[in-house]
């Protein structure tokens, strides 16, 4: 979604016409639909839950977008398009939203989807009794009283959402959130079938019990083996849905997934085994794909007193950032179409524009020379080597990158790096306690807007594990929330990050996958990689 789209969609009192068509991909001229419209893809792990309000992971969201439909959907470019809502108005400086729901929307049991279904679902998501790990998402929308309800100070009925009538949903927010409508594409804010949940309790997500309002219904589910979703004939736009059966196969091992894809058992696998993309691209140019993905990969400096005191000197941090040859990392280590990062926010983030930092324009040779000058000026270098402790979580790729970086620091700056790796949860605990000098970090956008990344640099952000604190950054980010065009503030924050170097941006992600050439309608340009099976079709080969 471009910022223009956001603005266009969120400008006060804007109404999307009720007659606007929803997004659907249709066969182009000369294409013949295949007889069997099935889509089979790989799941790395079993989806932890099929309950939209409890869901907290990417693979779960892919399933949720098929089974349920929220107020708004995304199209192939990530633009907002109508879902259950035909449109909405935003008033009161983006603090009040009124959504108009389409009358033809139905649950899979034939009941109409009403505004009350959304009210029930959203209260359920924030209710401490539900204990949803994603309750923070409702809190992040700043919906009226969300924080107090989560803290148990108010009942869920006090949440700032009401059903004005069956087809009108009114939402009130405590702060101005221009991108609220975009947030309704997240499964936490999907509707929920109250009668079914009350009847079956936690077993309501089993095939046979589950009632859903999306383009598909759950037909089979064997945990850790597979699940199947079939076309929902009650879906309001069922006439435009081509794929009739979607199967998610759990295949933990990435190489095994590739073998089974090549044997024709799957239509899509993601990701690909590390380093194999160039070879696969050459062999299967119409299937191997790499597209930008809204995530960054960085190393964070420990800015607190528990770190090596040398890191307090900005020249040391700067030298270490300059000495990293990012091209080597993306081209020789990862080899999957990732892009080298010189700023924190991925440049392809919607509406984000920032000046290219000065060191990006330099050659690596120039950067290395500057790095040596800076570290020597700070009183370190090969004659007076610095000793640092680097931590990362156990993973083959992270290990390779850490090794390459440590080697670059050793050769260019004489820094002795002790590398330590930990199992994921242990790693998070250690990083949270600032028990490191430099630590690996990565972040994927919760929504397609720069603040999802830059908030991490705000001093009291719980993800700010390096504990970088800068008053100006805090003020700029606070101010950006109510600005019509927050971009200048974002650019300024990036500038401060370039000067202060609390983190070393390393690369921006790519989604690297194999897709059966017969499957059409894949949203290659949606950088959040949010796909809807209802938008695909399979052509005859």
């Amino acid at each position: 979604m471009t910022l223009n789209t956001v603005l266009r969609l969120t400008a006060a009192t804007l109404v999307l016409g009720a007659g606007l068509p929803a997004f659907a991909a249709d066969p182009q001229e000369g294409e013949t639909l295949a007889e069997s419209q099935t889509f089979t893809y790989r799941l790395l792990d079993e989806v932890p839950t099929l309950d939209p309000q409890l869901n907290e992971d990417v693979s779960g969201s892919n399933v949720q977008r098929d089974l349920f439909e929220g107020l708004m959907n995304q199209d192939a470019q990530g633009n907002l398009v109508p879902g259950v809502a035909t449109g909405y108005t935003a008033t009161d400086g983006n603090k009040t939203y009124v959504f108009t729901l389409r009358e033809e929307a139905k649950w899979s049991n034939g009941d109409p989807v009403t505004a009350q279904d959304f009210v029930y679902a959203w209260r359920r998501a924030i209710d401490p009794a539900t204990a949803s790990p994603y309750a923070w998402f409702v809190e992040m929308t700043t919906m009226t009283n969300a924080s107090k309800i989560l803290a148990g100070e108010l009942p869920p009925e006090e949440l700032g959402v009401e059903a004005v009538d069956d087809h009108t949903l009114k939402v009130t927010l405590e702060e101005s959130i221009p991108y609220f409508a975009a947030m309704t594409t997240t499964s936490t804010l999907f509707p929920a079938p109250q009668a079914t949940i009350e009847k079956f309790g936690s077993e309501w997500t089993r095939p046979g019990n589950m009632v859903s309002n999306g383009a598909y219904v759950l037909s089979e589910h064997v945990p850790n083996e597979y699940h199947k979703r079939i076309k929902n004939d009650q879906y309001w736009d069922a006439g435009n849905v081509h794929i009739t059966e979607v199967t998610g196969l759990v295949i933990n091992d990435v190489n095994q997934a590739l073998t089974r894809y090549l044997a024709g058992e799957l239509d899509m696998i993601e990701p690909l085994p590390a380093g194999q993309f160039p070879e696969l691209k050459e062999k299967y140019p119409d299937q191997a794909t790499s597209v930008p993905r809204l995530c960054n990969y960085y190393y964070t400096f420990n800015m607190t007193d528990s770190a090596n005191p040398a890191l307090k000197d900005v020249r040391v941090r700067e030298a270490m950032s300059y000495a990293i040859d990012r091209d080597v990392i993306v081209n020789a280590v990862l080899k999957g179409g990732q892009s080298p990062a010189y700023i924190f926010t991925p440049p392809f983030t919607a509406g984000f524009e920032a000046e290219e930092p000065a060191y990006q324009a330099m050659t690596q040779k120039e950067r290395d020379a500057e790095a040596v000058r800076l570290i020597e000026e700070a009183g370190y270098g090969k004659d007076h080597p610095l000793t640092l402790r680097l931590i990362y979580n156990t993973d083959e790729n992270h290990k390779k990158i850490a090794t390459v970086m440590a080697q670059m620091w050793k050769q260019k700056l004489g820094i002795d790096v002790t590398m330590q790796n930990f199992e994921w949860k242990t790693f998070l605990e250690i990083r949270k306690q600032q028990d490191f000098d430099v630590a690996r970090g990565a972040w994927c956008g919760d929504y397609n807007e720069a603040s999802t990344f830059l908030q991490l640099m705000v001093s009291d952000n719980s993800q700010n594990d390096g504990r970088f604190a800068n008053d100006e950054v805090d003020a700029l980010m606070m101010e950006s929330k109510t600005m019509a065009d927050p971009n200048p503030n974002y650019a300024k924050v990036e500038e401060i990050l370039e000067q202060e170097v609390p983190v070393i941006p390393v690369y921006h992600y790519a989604n690297v996958f194999m897709l059966n050439a017969a499957i059409k309608g894949w949203p290659y340009e949606n950088v959040e990689n949010n796909w809807y099976s209802k938008d695909f079709y399979k052509v005859a080969e």
């Binding site: 079993e46 839950t49 009794a129 309750a135 850790n224 759990v250 295949i251 089974r260 044997a263 993800q463």
Partner: protein
């Protein structure tokens, strides 16, 4: 005999209790917890989650109520990771899978391994012996995580004979590769143990007497040598059987069988406390049970053993 079995079963109760307490403590003192994630949850969310699953109570009362729920209601608690499943659900769904491929692996391992071992011992130092030893060493050095991808490469990608994974309720084509991959190393061990114990028995005095009497070799082996030669094999088979029927993380990961083997690793990584406990107790109970079965078999095979 009956009183011996009863005594053994009684001793099993405190054994499993100790297992519960130790596992519970180790699990809780591991860094991180079920709610540790890249995005740090707000305290209110963590409090709500802890309250829902009873993790806000003191450790002693958590262990006590966990144990009580098992004893009184046979309730093994919810999964903290698979939020719409209970531990009992997960085990009820996955255990029949591992039981099936584990059982057939056991049958294959014992039948093939045992035959190889006996043949190698009877025709000691012949080409058959070398072949059997060669096969068993080959199978031993080829671990299942190497074997599994090779099998899929050959039988799925190249030959197209078998599906690359899945279970489909245990349909034959889905069971073949898991059984081959799981049984080979057990088969190799059984072959080696059988061979050496058979060699020892064949050199014993009573066999020499039998030979001197002019009994045919087949009768000597089957009737006189096999039973005593099986003793060391049987003590190996008890734990091996438990190992096989509780599945293997490698088999589950490579063949997407949906068995419980993967929970031994994944539940620990996810800090899915009650699933860790569930699979630990299951394995503990089965180990106790099959050790008892082994001891009973011993008494049946060796008349010198009395309980």
């Amino acid at each position: 005999m009956i009183s011996y079995i009863l005594r053994r079963l009684l001793v099993a109760v405190p054994t499993i209790l100790v297992l519960i307490v130790l596992s519970f403590l180790m699990m809780h003192y591991a860094p991180g917890g079920p709610w540790t994630s890249e995005r740090a949850f707000p305290q209110a969310v963590i409090d709500a989650l802890n309250a829902k699953y009873g993790l806000d109570k003191p450790l002693v009362s958590q262990i006590a109520s966990y144990t009580w729920n098992i004893v009184a209601h046979f309730d093994f608690g919810p999964s903290l990771y698979y939020k719409d499943r209970s531990v009992a659900d997960l085990i009820a769904q996955g255990f029949p899978v591992t039981l099936t491929y584990g059982f057939w692996s056991f049958v294959v391992a014992v039948a093939v391994g045992g035959s190889l071992g006996v043949a190698a011992a009877v025709w000691h130092n012949s080409w058959l012996d070398y072949l059997a030893v060669g096969i068993s060493i080959g199978a031993q050095v080829l671990p299942n995580f190497v074997m599994a991808p090779i099998l899929v490469l050959v039988f799925t990608l190249w030959l197209g004979w078998l599906p690359g994974g899945g279970w489909q309720g245990g349909a034959f084509p889905y069971v073949v590769m898991p059984v081959i991959a799981l049984s080979t190393s057990f088969m190799a061990s059984i072959a080696r143990i059988t061979r050496s114990s058979m060699l020892e028995v064949l050199n014993a005095g009573f066999i020499r007497t039998a030979r001197a009497k002019g009994l045919p070799m087949r009768r000597i082996v089957l009737r006189h040598a096999l039973k005593p030669a099986l003793l060391p094999v049987i003590s190996y088979l008890g734990p091996a059987f438990v190992g096989m029927i509780t599945g293997s993380v490698v088999i589950d990961i490579y063949f997407s069988t949906g068995g419980i083997g993967q929970y031994f690793v994944n539940s620990a990584l996810n800090r899915d406390y009650f699933v860790i406990m569930g699979v630990t107790i299951l394995t503990g109970a089965l180990t106790v049970l099959f050790n008892l079965v082994v001891d009973i078999l011993y008494a049946w095979i060796d008349p010198k053993i009395r309980y």
